[in-house]
């Protein structure tokens, strides 16, 4: 199933995408299913309880909620699109007519630290890390990537696999991680020139917050694909286009740390739970290396990198997951 968050008449709704051009209102479809198929006289209330409009809340409902969504989907997917719900409300919307938002508004976004200039240098592996990206950077498909002239040198983005957690758990070994994942989404991890090493005397750190946490720096979407439709997250082709031309061509198997391995690692620290968004990192992003004096430095190893500028359109495709497009727009105040 492909799940979207959309707004209609000011109301947040969770939908399932049908034939790539229709959205089914899952809550209303479930209410109809309960009323017609299970003769439930409290169908409306039950549907609201099990399939709320907020994705995090829905995921917190666990298996019960997820099964309800599946039933609603199976029941409605073959029906005529003119079918109405128990209150004569719409069940089907044309994908073009609704505004898709970020499929999930996370409470925490975890990013994978940069790759390494020398990935085979085992000693350097102790410097791999994770970082937090502000939850407030998350926006949806079509939302503008905001370009600020004063911090826009090396302004760029990577395509990354976004991992959505379904089932809570802590200290989860790699081979059990898939039990805790609900699905996946496409993410643009936008960064700017501030993503550099900063020094305080003898101590240094990579300035992830300055470099990756600014308004709209994490477009995600267009939907969450449930894991059954994705297969192994550690073997997915990923493509990033700028203005229609291929810029990055990657496969998640080339990540310094595999997706499952990284999620398992995060669970050492933070309880995996709905509301967490984990970004996979990229095998073609900024890397940590050394300068001529052996001091740490963030490098861009790409040949002739073309940085983003206003007017560009970024589009990414991840195999079995989806396609996400965002325009680059100069910031002129507001969000």
């Amino acid at each position: 199933m492909k799940l979207v968050t959309f707004k209609f008449n000011g109301q947040l709704k969770i939908g399932a995408v049908l034939q790539d051009n229709y959205v089914l209102d899952l809550q209303r479809a479930y209410a109809l299913y309960l009323a017609k198929e299970e003769q439930d006289l409290q169908a409306d209330g039950m549907a609201q309880a099990l399939i709320p409009g907020d994705m995090v809340e829905f995921l917190r409902g666990g298996q019960l909620a997820q099964e309800a969504a599946q039933k609603a989907y199976d029941y409605a997917k073959e029906q005529e699109h003119s079918l109405l719900g128990i209150n004569e409300e719409w069940l089907f919307y044309s994908l073009e007519d609704v505004k898709l938002l970020a499929p999930l508004q996370p409470l925490t976004v975890i990013g994978a630290g940069p790759g390494l200039e020398e990935p085979n240098n085992q000693q350097m592996h102790s410097y791999i890390e994770f970082y937090l990206k502000s939850e407030h950077t998350v926006v949806g498909p079509g939302a503008p990537i905001l370009y600020l002239p004063e911090q826009a040198q090396n302004f760029d983005c990577t395509v990354e696999l976004g991992v959505i957690i379904g089932k809570p758990g802590r200290h989860i070994p790699e081979d059990k991680v898939m039990d805790h994942i609900y699905g996946f989404t496409v993410a643009h991890n936008v960064y700017c020139e501030k993503l550099q090493v900063g020094w305080e005397g003898t101590m240094f750190h990579v300035r992830y917050s300055e470099g990756t946490s600014f308004d709209n720096a994490c477009p995600t979407g267009p939907w969450i694909v449930t894991k059954d439709e994705v297969g192994d997250p550690d073997n997915l082709n990923m493509l990033l286009y700028v203005n229609g031309k291929v810029r990055d061509k990657l496969n998640s198997k080339d990540l310094l740390r595999g997706v499952k391995e990284f999620v398992s690692y995060c669970s050492t620290f933070i309880t995996l739970e709905p509301g967490l968004l984990i970004l996979s990192g990229s095998s073609n992003g900024p890397v940590l290396g050394k300068d001529a004096d052996g001091r740490p430095v963030i490098k861009d190893l790409r040949k002739n990198p073309a940085y983003l500028k206003p007017g560009d359109v970024v589009r990414s495709v991840i195999e079995n997951v989806g396609e996400l497009e965002n325009p680059v727009v100069e910031w002129k105040g507001g969000k």
Binding site: E200, T202, M203, Y208, S209, S213, F269, T271
Partner: protein, 328 residues
């Protein structure tokens, strides 16, 4: 006003503290409205004073005015409150984002052999890490054996702030609380070569229960000036941090203004001020410390052990207490 989030019968409520008693703000406001003849008292009150702190802060001036009106009403009526000590306190708010400052007190920089950077440190801590006052904080050896404490002023943002000037910054502050930026030092400080160290703010700072907040929020109208407040930490009774906000390098307006250059600060954001000297890291020679002898009565001590009690105090705000222990 001193605003708390507390729990009754598994339900989270927004309360105000008056003379050692906690009052349900929403219910008290409904009582006031009813007395004024409002026929929709409960409904109006539920909207105007929502039961979560962030929703209340998002309500802006109107919500705040209703709360103040309620306090005035409570002060002249004899409504029964609950004794503060009988209340189960929760973190006063579930911040929507936690921004942490660092490198913000000279004595902390000195003891860790750091020089003052050109800008205040900027890192994020996961809201998933928030712990309530008195909640047990986990001592989890799979995370670290070097658990450290950091007393910090928590600054709560009231309304969207983007690229605000230092002189306007206080207009965007809702109030203050105490923040314990618990740190996992051997996850945070990694030797690089012979003389340098990498700081990792992900692993070193974000894990379950690593961010106690509370015990309440003191709103700006009651605590307008935070530029001269004592900060103190005791660990199981031993004085470990003892400083004053007047020694901060980047003060509250500077912090709010600086972080707002990067992103829109929204209602319910928590900005932590950075901590003064005295954490165990300052005595950890292995991790590059210079444990010079302190003249402020602070004892140099090691990392926390299971069952240690952290008591963080900020003058005019209160005390945030948590015990660290093995949870399983």
């Amino acid at each position: 006003m001193r605003l708390v989030t507390y729990e009754v019968g598994g339900k989270s409520l927004l309360g105000v503290i008056l003379a050692g008693k906690v009052y349900d703000l929403q219910k008290s406001y409904a009582a006031l409205l009813k007395e004024q003849g409002n026929t929709l008292a409960e409904k109006v009150s539920a909207v105007r004073i929502p039961s979560t702190m962030v929703a209340f802060i998002e309500g802006g001036e109107k919500a705040l005015a209703a709360a103040k009106e309620t306090v005035a009403y409570l002060e002249k009526t004899q409504l029964p409150g609950i004794d503060l000590f009988d209340v189960k306190l929760k973190a006063p708010l579930m911040p929507t984002t936690i921004i942490c400052g660092g490198a913000n007190f000279h004595d902390h920089l000195d003891e860790t052999h750091r020089s003052k950077p050109t800008e205040v440190e900027f890192f994020l801590k996961s809201p998933h890490a928030v712990a309530d006052p008195f909640q047990k904080v986990e001592y989890e050896e799979r995370v670290t054996r070097k658990y450290d404490y950091e007393v910090e002023l928590g600054i709560i943002i009231s309304k969207p702030a983007r690229q605000v000037k230092v002189e306007d910054a206080l207009d965007y502050v809702f109030g203050y609380t105490i923040f314990n930026d618990i740190s996992a030092r051997d996850r945070q400080v990694i030797p690089w070569g012979k003389d340098n160290f990498q700081l990792r703010f992900g692993e070193g700072k974000s894990y379950d229960t690593g961010a106690p907040v509370g015990p309440w929020i003191v709103t700006k109208d009651e605590l307008n000036d935070v530029s001269n407040l004592a900060l103190r930490t005791t660990i199981s009774g031993e004085l470990r941090q003892n400083n004053n906000m007047k020694n901060i390098i980047w003060n509250v307006p500077a912090l709010v203004s600086f972080y707002s250059t990067y992103m829109t600060l929204s209602p319910g954001f928590l900005i932590a001020s950075g901590t003064p000297g005295g954490p165990a890291l300052g005595s950890d020679v292995e991790l590059g410390a210079d444990p010079y002898e302190r003249k402020d009565g602070v004892k140099r001590g090691g990392y926390m052990q299971p069952k240690d009690v952290m008591r963080l105090e900020i003058e005019k705000i209160g005390v945030l207490e948590n015990q660290i222990d093995r949870l399983s």
